[in-house]
Symmetry: C2
Subunit: 226 residues, 2 copies
């Protein structure tokens, strides 16, 4: 006689996990959910009703959501969900001292590369798709706590409110830099993120060229350093 998978409703069974894993991997590969029959084939379940049976259980346990009556109408919930909203932010070039910063309109070429950021990591209003990214080259931003190789995500802007971190072109110093912006009575104060560094004071008559607001800094540490 055939052996049944004995589980008797004590939590998640092997079959449940296998189905969950398959949905995740299928979704990763095809970018859309599998059909009931496809799940059945892969998990060696010969009847669609059994797959449906398991899917219902997974839904009851809150691991899956189903849109009844519509084909492939399912999605994984919680940590197992491999797909999520993301923004593809184009990396327009590099930012370094001594060279003007690129802004989207100035970029002559299509972005060579881009970085993907989960929308859940973005604050509500930065989710517009005008964001762009730059890779920091050199150690000139260490006072802004930004390392060589870091990726900064920027939102185009020509002005800023107090406390916002901006990318500015300092004409008299001939350099691009990242600083917290503060408007003061006699001009502007550009405060480094690192409290060990002193602020830069810019007088009202001097030109202050804000290029964008920094919304995120990302550092991949998988590379080695000397």
């Amino acid at each position: 006689m055939m052996m049944m998978m004995v589980r008797k409703s004590k939590g998640l069974g092997e079959r449940h996990q296998k189905i969950l894993d398959f949905i995740a991997s299928y979704q990763r590969e095809h970018k859309h959910p599998p059909s009931i029959r496809e799940i059945g084939e892969h998990c060696k379940i010969s009847s669609t009703s059994v797959v449906n049976y398991y899917l219902d259980q997974l839904e009851k346990e809150g691991l899956l959501e189903r849109d009844r009556k519509i084909s492939r109408g399912m999605r994984l919930v919680g940590n197992s969900n491999p797909l999520g909203d993301m923004l593809r932010v184009p990396v327009l070039g590099v930012i370094q001292a001594g060279e003007p910063i690129l802004v989207p309109s100035e970029s002559p070429f299509t972005p060579e590369d881009s970085v993907e950021i989960a929308t859940s990591m973005m604050s509500s209003k930065e989710k517009g798709k005008d964001l762009f990214a730059l890779q920091v080259q050199g150690d000139s931003m260490i006072d802004a706590m930004v390392n060589d190789g870091d990726i900064v995500i920027l939102k185009p802007a020509q002005e800023a409110r107090n406390g916002e971190m901006v990318a500015v072109w300092l004409n008299d110093r001939n350099e691009t830099t990242l600083k917290y912006f503060y408007k003061e009575k006699d001009g502007y104060r550009l405060q480094p993120a690192n409290p060990a560094f002193k602020p830069i004071m810019v007088k009202k008559n001097e030109s202050l060229d804000i290029k964008g607001k920094v919304v995120m800094v990302i550092r991949k540490v998988d590379r080695l350093v000397a």
Copy 2:
């Protein structure tokens, strides 16, 4: 007589864009692609054949991929694709000087929160799901170029290779810190990421408690700073 949308094959039309946008928003909402008829309804196209007609064009222009014969078998390609592979990394707690670092096995509770990272941002081998994240509290990591509030993504580890950034518990100093790890002849050298700081030398007999390797640092700058 009825006015036709005249486009005559010169690039992308208004209709094409509307369809693209609808697929993206539908996918964002339902986590699976729409059906041809759903596209038609929303874009005011009364015939499924016309939707199919447009979908074919979008595919030819490389903006869409289609899995023929299967329901809702389509996906956006390139920058318009709102969905992508991501890892949900649990934020297990905070890391701060003076307190031991949490490692996954020590965490007694389910993660309160988590951060979503695109797998494309991860180097190949860190994609296992044993990663965890900690939020930095305080300014004690500024020599590691890590700011108050930053989120560090860690991979559990008890040992490290030269050049890797590790989270260590320094017993004699009674603090947690992030440093680049180097094994030397008489012990270990812990190098701050910021070149302005001096390395910490640890002798062989002293205890060096590596808790994990840092694979990424993320800083959300949308919050304001004093």
